[in-house]
């Protein structure tokens, strides 16, 4: 707003932050001249969209009907890749693992991040310091997180089991016992709830204090105020965080790949750590099965699309938008 102070002379109008969309008639010709510049400004995006988004989407669909190893040219194989996919135990297990992880990870992240954000809100002036501390893990590269938790989760020597043994719990072999590999990965993922927490914290700041006060005067209990005032007011942020976290967790790769894949061919944890994108990555870039990998990619795309649409559909019942009339 200090900006407006620098305006020269003309004070006829106040800063128009949200001008009406319709141009005034006398400006029609200016409008037309202006719009010749639109393609210039949008060109980078349009080119990028065609070359790196739309083009590859189509190419990926086409490739999924071929057998292609990059060296020789693609060969049309019809639905072979999809038939293979339907009977590929590894791929289906990877999908199962990924869905299992997502179903565990997303609700936990949402609940933990919201809890932390509400906790921050209580800390008043100190919230900044604690926000920093809670957010710090989110700055760690996933590979480093993988290395770190490979050691922290170690069944014999790991810090986590050492901490559990203090309270008398005999911790499992998080990194080798197939039953505990995925819960271990979920535990690891909760270390970096920082981003979601920051989103919720910002949303909580936007909840009008008067609403809370009014509810309290009306005798609403803490839970009632949370349920009927806070939650509806931040439902937009909740939906956004749910959708984004779901999409991201269905594509989990770096941490898991670091911990369980790489030079050594067989994964230490057996099939329990086989995640979908890891499998896709290996099919494409290790075995050069580009056609099959494209089919795998499209299956994942459809799964993500369906889940996102279901989430958006369900959300219509819960989400409150301020602008809504």
């Amino acid at each position: 707003m200090t900006v407006t102070a620098h305006r020269t002379g003309d004070d006829r109008t106040l800063p128009a932050r949200h001008q009406p969309e319709r141009p005034r008639p006398r400006r029609q010709s200016l409008q037309a001249r202006e719009n010749r510049w639109v393609p210039v400004f949008l060109a980078p995006w349009i080119i990028g969209f065609l070359v790196f988004t739309a083009g590859p989407m189509v190419a990926s669909l086409v490739l999924s009907f071929t057998s292609y190893d990059v060296i020789s040219s693609p060969e049309y194989v019809g639905l072979d890749n999809y038939e293979q996919l339907a009977t590929d135990d590894q791929a289906l297990r990877a999908m199962g693992n990924t869905l299992f992880y997502t179903a565990l990870h997303v609700p936990l992240v949402i609940v933990c991040a919201l809890g932390l954000a509400m906790l921050l809100q209580r800390l008043g002036r100190m919230s900044g310091l604690f926000r920093t501390l809670f957010y710090l893990p989110s700055m760690t590269p996933p590979v480093a997180i993988g290395v770190l938790f490979l050691l922290l989760l170690n069944g014999q020597t790991g810090l986590i089991n050492a901490a559990l043994s203090v309270v008398g719990i005999d911790g499992p072999d998080w990194t080798t016992d197939p039953a505990w590999v995925k819960p271990g990965i979920v535990l690891m993922s909760l270390w970096s709830v920082g981003t979601t927490m920051v989103i919720f914290f910002a949303a909580l700041q936007d909840v009008p204090v008067e609403l809370q006060e009014a509810a309290e005067l009306d005798g609403a209990s803490g839970w009632q105020r949370f349920r009927n005032v806070t939650l509806p007011m931040i439902s937009g942020a909740l939906l956004f965080a749910t959708v984004i976290n779901t999409i991201a967790s269905l594509q989990l790769f770096a941490e898991v790949y670091t911990m369980f894949f790489g030079q050594q061919d067989a994964s230490v944890a057996g099939d329990a750590a086989q995640f979908y994108v890891v499998y896709l990555f290996e099919q494409a870039f290790k075995f050069l099965h580009m056609g099959y990998a494209s089919a795998l990619a499209w299956l994942l795309f459809l799964v993500i699309l369906v889940i996102t649409l279901v989430q958006l559909r369900l959300s219509k019942r819960f989400v409150y938008y301020e602008g809504q009339q």
Partner: protein, 308 residues
């Protein structure tokens, strides 16, 4: 302003959601003792969580300074401090080279995406043309698109261009803007007073000038946010360096760290000290960057989340 806005709700909602106040407590809402207890509980919880969140870092740094035989003793303070681990990483792997590669790629990626996204965002913010909302909707829709779907064909595009084994694919796409930043910067541009641009037009400034000489200088915070968020994204990325970089001299830090882990960690020479020291080296720069630009990180994430 910000301190009052954070404190007021805190006072109003003091001690309920977590504790769940009982009826007897509510009869005595001003009771100083119960309020004090609740306050203490809040601080205790916050302290405990902060401890859990930061302890792994301390563990990592501590373990990276221990001799191999003590790495797993879980002592916070090493019995024998062995800073030589860092010298050993130096000898075993071109870690400085990787660090420089990460810095170069990160700067290229962040600069490219900031400039291109701002340029595109200005197009969406300043001009009013038919189909603008539909097109902008398409931009936002690409945000939801899983990157994995285009992983294979994108590789083929770079392969076709003869760049598949260079560092270019790690930042080249950034020249064409990125949906989330276009959204963020457009929001910012929309809040600039339009008369400013109209006055400049009257003074004969061209449209490129409007962007470069007015919109950009006035949007520094938003540009810094974009830059810093992309710097982190680039710095932490593993999948693209894995796909594209084969030559160890070109590796970025995460890619190099993975190689170090495979060679010296599990199934390798079991020299965890080297792996841990390399992990610290790849983590510390981002932590420093975070402390320097904290305000922008937090603001940026909050803004993207507000779109709801």
């Amino acid at each position: 302003m910000s301190s009052t806005s954070t404190q007021l709700p805190a006072a109003v909602t003091a001690g309920d959601v977590f504790g769940g106040s009982t009826a007897s407590e509510r009869k005595d809402p001003g009771g100083r003792r119960s309020r004090g207890v609740r306050r203490a509980l809040v601080w205790l919880t916050a302290g405990a969580i902060a401890f859990v969140m930061t302890y792994p870092f301390l563990w990592l740094v501590s373990a990276s300074l221990k001799p191999q035989s003590q790495v797993f003793d879980n002592r916070l303070w090493p019995r024998d401090v062995q800073p030589g681990n860092y010298a050993e990483v130096w000898r075993e792997a071109p870690i400085l080279r990787w660090l420089m590669n990460s810095v170069t790629v990160g700067l290229a990626a962040a600069t490219a995406v900031t400039l291109s996204s701002a340029f595109i965002a200005f197009g969406f913010a300043y001009f009013r043309f038919r189909g603008r909302n539909a097109l902008f909707g398409l931009v936002l829709a690409t945000m939801m698109l899983p990157g994995v779907v285009t992983m294979v064909p994108t590789y083929l595009v770079w392969n076709e261009l003869g760049l598949a084994t260079t560092q270019v694919p790690l930042w080249g796409m950034n020249l064409f803007g990125s949906a989330i930043y276009i959204f963020l910067l457009r929001q910012f541009f929309l809040n600039l007073p339009r008369e400013l641009f109209e006055a400049a037009r009257v003074d004969g400034v061209g449209y490129l000038g409007l962007f470069w000489r007015i919109a950009v200088p006035l949007s520094k915070p938003a540009l810094i946010i974009t830059f810093i968020l992309e710097l982190r994204a680039s710095w932490t990325d593993l999948v693209r360096p894995l796909i594209y970089l084969q030559d160890s001299a070109l590796f970025t830090l995460p890619r190099g760290l993975k190689v170090v882990l495979d060679q010296f960690g599990q199934g390798g020479e079991m020299k965890w000290t080297v792996v841990l020291a390399a992990s610290v080296i790849s983590t510390v720069p981002m932590i420093i960057a975070f402390f320097l630009g904290q305000r922008y990180f937090v603001q940026g994430i909050a803004t993207t989340g507000r779109k709801g």
